[in-house]
């Protein structure tokens, strides 16, 4: 088995490892490193330790917008967890029912928005919710509910929720498909045994099928978490980099973008941008660690 030098190994691995390292892994570590530096006006970069983080978390000009973005992002995530994933679970449960006709068509249609660009989806909903066009107002009027209509995207109190629901509408196909696949992989005889024992379909679902797909629900949670704390396009397309009204829809992605590139009178800063990116990295890291060390581990133990 011993050969001189495994050239074939190099040949197979080098392209992928090289590109990944140079344009994904290295930039990530370099960004973390850059957060410890600062640029002076004449373009000299010097090491400043944690002072960028101190600025971000304590200088009122920085900490206000940062906590606002983090809190908005958390709400954005909570809405996905409360709306997207339960509806995804329900749709998956319905789709996995035995001898359901047309299941394939439903799946295809409900998954469709997931494939479309977030930018396009943002614009489409902006038009639909626009008071100018009046489509949603007319729709509500059909049920006699037109007094409920407001320019939801324009109001500070409702803009973030509306955007989160648009995002839920678009991405519901992902939890639906993942949960659907997990439900299909449950052996039939298990469900059959429960049925013979006289368990109702409702009881079978909550007591047998849901516990068995808990690992998938965990996976859906962490995918939602990473996706939400990395979101940017929807807010940028609908509300611009300023994430109005009055920063009420600002999330970490838009805050990062503004910090890096600047806006209005504030000049962009690469090192402060790197600092915000590092905070985002830490948030995602904490989420992923929680998932691997707490949720996933307990789930596997539960399964055994």
């Amino acid at each position: 088995m011993k050969r001189a030098f495994p050239w074939h190994l190099l040949f197979f691995l080098a392209p992928a490892v090289l590109i990944y390292t140079l344009f994904s892994a290295y930039p990530l570590f370099d960004t973390l490193r850059l957060s410890l530096f600062t640029d002076t006006t004449d373009g000299v970069r010097s090491f400043t330790g944690l002072s960028n983080f101190v600025t971000l978390l304590s200088d009122p000009n920085w900490s206000g917008p940062f906590w606002n973005a983090l809190w908005n992002n958390t709400q954005f995530f909570i809405i996905h967890m409360l709306v997207q994933n339960p509806i995804g679970l329900m749709l998956a449960a319905l789709l996995s029912m035995k001898d359901l006709r047309g299941g394939r068509t439903y799946r295809t249609l409900i998954f469709l928005p997931t494939l479309l660009s977030v930018v396009i989806i943002g614009f489409i909903w902006q038009l639909i919710l626009s008071p100018l066009w009046g489509v949603s107002e007319g729709f509500l009027a059909f049920f006699g509910l037109d007094f409920l209509f407001e320019a939801w995207l324009g109001r500070e109190g409702s803009a973030l929720i509306t955007l989160a629901l648009i995002s839920v509408w678009q991405f519901i196909g992902i939890p639906m498909m993942l949960i659907y696949a997990a439900l299909l992989s449950i052996p039939d005889d298990l469900i059959e045994a429960a049925r013979v024992d006289g368990a109702s379909p409702w009881r079978t679902f909550w007591r047998i099928r849901v516990p068995l797909i808990l690992p998938t629900l965990g996976l859906v949670t962490i995918l939602t978490f990473v996706g939400n704390f990395n979101a940017f396009e929807l807010i940028y397309a609908v509300k611009g980099a300023l994430a109005g009204p009055n920063f009420s829809t600002d999330i970490l992605g838009t805050f990062f973008y503004r910090t890096f590139f600047g806006y209005q009178s504030q000049i962009g800063s690469a090192t402060m941008g790197a600092t915000v990116a590092t905070m985002m990295f830490l948030v995602i890291l904490v989420g992923v660690m929680l998932y691997f060390f707490v949720i996933q581990r307990r789930l596997t133990r539960y399964q055994l």
Partner: protein
């Protein structure tokens, strides 16, 4: 169990729910496409009506094609999606093969290093990526996007393909090796054709996020000659926000290629998605 009448009505309820949700998913997209074929007056007068003989109009499309470089944007998007797609599948399959077939020191560590990219979004490295591209003189080139998208797609591709390469029967590889087939020929002529279905799944997972991305085109290649379709549409709509015909037509043009592709590939895609998810 409940009587047949009950199960019939519960069945109807299931279909009603699924149908209702399908409509919710489809309605906004259809509404935009339908109205893009109507005159400005008809768009506002009766948004829900289909275009008729007196409301039909292609003004919006004419304007989009005239005033923006739509075909150029489309070509750019195609280029920066298809080249990374090819590279991700080829390099991803090669790396997956090496990781699952050969035992070498650091194998698991390398696999872990590559898998890191699945959980940590590549966007977080944007500050440094931009600096690298500036120093390589690649800002406002498609090359910048191609390199970044290839790096972005590789981790998930390698993870999925490693799983599949591992399922290739041992006897097959041994038989080939006994006949003196080189490791290179073994991979390209025997293994690669065998894992083709998995490669198709990977292709979809890789392609959709790249085609739809706005972040990197905005940052690395915002110039007029390198704009992708997402960026082009975003800027066009910003410019013509009050011209509803044009806005609706631009949106429809951006959506239609994906709809057509989905119509042809949806069964394959969903099969790939569900089989890829079962573990």
């Amino acid at each position: 169990m409940n009587g047949p009448s009950h199960s019939l009505s519960s069945k109807a309820l299931v279909h009603l729910t699924l149908l209702g949700y399908s409509l919710i998913a489809l309605f906004p997209i259809l509404l935009v496409i339908i109205n893009s074929f109507k005159s400005r007056r008809a768009i506002f007068m009766d948004p829900l009506a289909l275009p008729g003989p007196d409301s039909f109009s292609l003004d919006g499309y004419a304007k989009v094609l005239e005033e923006s470089n739509f075909l150029l944007f489309f070509g750019n998007s195609l280029l920066v999606t298809l080249v990374p797609l090819f590279l991700v599948m080829l390099f991803g399959a090669m790396a997956a093969w090496a990781l699952s077939e050969y035992r070498f020191r650091g194998n698991r560590l390398l696999a872990l290093f590559l898998a890191m990219g699945i959980m940590v979004p590549i966007r977080l490295g944007t500050v440094s990526i931009l600096e690298i591209m500036v120093s390589l003189n690649l800002v406002n080139t498609q090359m910048a996007l191609i390199l970044v998208y290839t790096a972005q797609g590789l981790p998930l591709a390698i993870l999925i393909l490693t799983e599949f390469v591992g399922q290739v029967p041992e006897e097959l590889k041994e038989a080939a090796r006994c006949e003196g087939v080189s490791e290179y020929r073994l991979f390209f002529q025997i293994i690669l054709p065998l894992i083709r279905p998995a490669v198709a799944t990977v292709a979809i997972f890789t392609m959709v996020p790249i085609w739809n991305d706005l972040w990197f085109p905005l940052i690395l290649a915002p110039g007029p000659s390198t704009q992708t379709i997402q960026l082009g549409v975003q800027q066009f709509i910003g410019q013509y926000a009050t011209d509803w015909n044009s806005v609706l037509s631009a949106l429809s043009l951006a959506v239609l290629p994906v709809l057509v592709l989905y119509a042809f590939l949806s069964q394959h895609l969903i099969r790939g998605l569900t089989s890829g998810a079962v573990k």
